[in-house]
């Protein structure tokens, strides 16, 4: 029941009976032909449908005489929403007595060159109708009973349009032949009758099915009948507007013997060819089937439709549709479940291999971990044997270094001071104070006080205050000038320091109140007169 590979079984249904074709490489093979008159027709049809080709779905193609066509050209310009309703109404009115109706848009023929105007909507429709015959019902029952898949129901003349065009094009290719607007395929069908399909500009123009005469379907008499029927067809197509300038390609499917009885003078056309079914199949691109003594054209349609796989103009037959849809849904279900299964298998195999890789990784890492554990144990033994803990050593040395960084040797500061003083300054008193890094400031002996992190750049602050004197031989102004110079020298030696003269000689202020006496003799200042300088800044 699961169809694998392309190709469909074709069930041709005609007035005489049914013929079933099964797909094979490059074409089709005839499975059986059953006549309606057979006493056990239904059982045989079911049996055949259930044979080894049962996995292929069946395409039912109707080739009976009950089908009715009408071309409807008076469709007004309507919106895409209104148009289908209008067409539907027209169809119902056209064939009120037929239960099976369908309409197909006829695409206008493609014209060469640029088309500047025109809607994409079709301007004419082909209306089709057929009665629900007992024959269709019998085939439906057989399809139901056999359990085979059904691909659809189509009408042979409608489905044959492309075949007729293609065959005519290939049959008359390479003969300096002007492409004709009209093509005709004439073939005797095993399902009953002589089928003529006339195509104009890629659309079905006319189809005729005439029952086979009493004289058989081969030989001169048959050829005579075909010629007569073709002449009748010519009259019909003349009414449809055929003119000899349009060109007409005629392809007749005939056996090798009968073909000699056809002539262009007899047919009244110059562009005609007779092909055996095998040659026609070959020309259409299929494997030849049958013998040159056979003239049935059904096989050509079957091969064409089997390869095509889908109907160009499917017809909805309720009895067949009710079988087709559930079985198609099951097929769709197969596809969904198969895709889902494939997806899950893909995911599962991915996960399986991921797990396997993870397993291997874990195994490798476990070995690695065991090695590291052993190494750690060995190192831990060595560590335990050390006399002191690393934290203690680190902490003690680090603390000592921080303390050293915050300790200023007195000698270093004194050397800088002496450098600035020079030889004429004598220091009367010197006060020095170093406030250390914030972290070293005592916060009391409370053990719960949290220690602050140490900033290595912070070494606290220095405050130096000194009183100094100068030689008594100097005048007050000279002393003041010297004190100011000393301030400048100190600023140079202690960059960044705040250095202020907190007390000037004689307590004078250059901008403040000043008292003095003017005399010829220059009075020296007192040797006890002292000045004071205060310095503040970060340790250098």
């Amino acid at each position: 029941m699961v169809q694998i590979g392309g190709g469909k079984r074709i069930l041709l249904l005609g007035g005489e009976g049914v013929v079933i074709y099964a797909p094979r490489a490059g074409g089709v093979e005839r499975e059986i032909a059953l006549s309606w008159e057979m006493p056990n027709f239904d059982e045989q049809l079911i049996e055949i449908l259930q044979n080894q080709n049962a996995s292929k779905s069946v395409l039912v193609v109707f080739d009976g005489s009950d089908q009715t066509y009408r071309k409807e050209e008076s469709i007004p310009k309507l919106s895409p929403i209104d148009r289908p309703r209008f067409v539907r109404r027209k169809l119902d009115l056209a064939f009120p007595a037929y239960p099976i109706r369908a309409s197909f848009a006829i695409k206008p023929p493609k014209k060469k060159g640029l088309q500047l105007s025109g809607s994409s909507l079709p301007t004419s429709y082909l209306f089709v109708a057929l009665p629900e015959t007992e024959q269709i019902e019998r085939v439906s029952r057989a399809l139901f009973e056999s359990g085979v898949s059904v691909s659809g129901f189509g009408l042979l003349p409608l489905e044959a349009v492309n075949l007729v065009e293609s065959l005519a094009r290939k049959a008359f290719a390479g003969e300096d032949h002007r492409p004709a607007r009209w093509s005709v395929l004439i073939a005797q069908h095993e399902t009953g009758g002589l089928r003529q399909v006339v195509v104009k500009d890629g659309a079905l123009a006319l189809t005729r099915l005439t029952p086979a005469g009493d004289s058989g379907t081969l030989g001169a008499t048959w050829a005579e009948e075909v010629t007569q029927e073709f002449h009748a067809t010519m009259k019909y197509i003349a009414r449809l507007g055929y003119q000899s300038d349009d060109g007409l390609d005629v392809v007749i499917i005939s056996d090798d013997v009968s073909r000699q009885f056809f002539s262009d003078s007899g047919l009244g056309v110059r562009s005609f060819t007779c092909l055996t079914p095998a040659k026609a199949l070959k020309l259409a691109g299929f494997s030849p089937f049958g013998s040159d003594k056979d003239n049935f054209g059904d096989v050509l349609h079957a091969a064409f439709l089997s390869k095509q796989g889908r109907l160009k103009s499917p017809i909805r037959i309720p009895s067949i549709h009710s079988i087709m849809i559930p079985r198609m849904m099951v097929k769709f279900g197969y596809a969904v479940l198969a895709v889902s299964l494939l997806g899950l298998l893909y995911l599962s195999q991915g996960a399986f291999f991921t797990n396997r890789t993870l397993d291997q990784d874990i195994e490798r890492q476990q070995v690695q971990k065991d090695m590291l554990d052993r190494e750690y144990q060995q190192e831990a033994v060595l560590f335990e044997q050390l006399p002191v803990k690393a934290d203690v050593v680190k902490g003690v040395i680090q603390t000592k270094k921080i303390l050293e960084a915050n300790t200023l040797p007195v000698e270093g500061v004194n050397k800088l001071l002496l450098k600035a003083f020079g030889g004429d300054v004598y220091v009367s008193s010197l006060n020095y104070a170093h406030t250390p890094n914030q972290a070293l400031l005592l916060r009391g002996s409370d053990p719960t006080v949290v220690a602050a992190p140490v900033d290595p750049a912070d070494r606290g602050r220095i405050e130096i205050t000194f009183r100094f004197g100068l030689s008594a031989d100097l005048t007050l102004e000279q002393k003041v000038l010297r004190a100011e110079k000393l301030q400048r020298d100190l600023i140079a030696v202690f960059p960044g320091y705040d250095i202020r003269i907190t007390e000037q000689f004689g307590r004078v202020d250059r901008d403040g109140a000043f008292t003095a006496s003017i005399d010829e003799a220059v009075a020296p200042s007192s040797a006890d007169d002292l000045a004071e300088i205060k310095m503040e800044g970060k340790p250098l």
Binding site: L337, K369, D373, K394, N431
Partner: protein, 222 residues
């Protein structure tokens, strides 16, 4: 319905559905939880390995550090940086400095021991303690002696000593009247004092010892 669809089709559908369910079960109830569990296990192992590596690196680094720093640490301990601040020991050390510097004498006063909260000391499991020692009445005629004494404290006193304050004041001049007294050391030309901090790292007291008050202040003349 069964006839319409066909028993074979139903069987195939059921088989396909069953296979789907089986795969779903295998994937969602076995493979995927397994992946999650194995991934977690692997991540845990990776983390444990990284942790173990870090521990090994740290322990190795510590061993190297201890081996390299041990002489420095032992020298500090030997010089008294890890000693408690016993007042008699302080007195002996100051006397040793005095002798080294060669001055007549001085008096000193030492404050109570205090704890300085200090992060690196805490990390070592120790505590940093501090005493403030004030040195005055320094027996030297000139200021040079004072500076020598301060340098002696900085260099010879057990680590860690840190001068935080000093004061020197000229108190007189050399005159014929006082030259003999100066020579005999009965008089000086400067009055001076300085304060230094004595800091050592000691083990923190055990809980019962923590209640005992620290070593009180002390004064003396070396």
């Amino acid at each position: 319905m069964i006839k319409l669809i066909g028993l074979n089709r139903l069987i195939i559908l059921a088989v396909l559905g069953g296979l789907n369910l089986l795969c779903l079960w295998i994937y969602f109830l076995w493979l995927q939880p397994g992946t999650v569990q194995l991934t977690q296990q692997q991540q845990q192992l990776t983390s444990t390995i990284a942790e173990q590596r870090t521990k090994i690196d740290n322990i190795k680094a510590d061993i190297i550090l201890i081996r390299e720093s041990l002489p420095e640490y032992e020298a500090l301990v030997k010089n008294g940086f890890a000693s408690d601040q016993d007042r008699f020991y302080l007195s002996r050390q100051l006397d040793m400095v005095r002798e080294t510097v060669g001055i007549r004498g001085f008096s000193f006063a030492v404050s109570d021991i205090e704890t300085v909260p200090f992060m690196t000391a805490d990390a070592a499991g120790k505590k940093l303690i501090r005493s403030e020692v004030m040195v005055e009445k320094i027996g030297t005629t000139f200021d040079v002696g004072v500076f020598e004494l301060m340098r002696g404290v900085e260099q010879k006193f057990p680590p860690h000593a840190r001068i935080i304050k000093y004061e020197i004041k000229k108190s007189g001049n050399v005159t014929p009247d006082n030259i003999d007294r100066l020579r005999n050391g009965e008089e000086t030309l400067v009055s001076s004092s300085f304060v230094f901090e004595w800091m050592t790292m000691v083990d923190p007291p055990k809980p019962e010892e923590a209640q005992v008050p620290g070593t009180p202040g002390y004064g003396g003349t070396p």
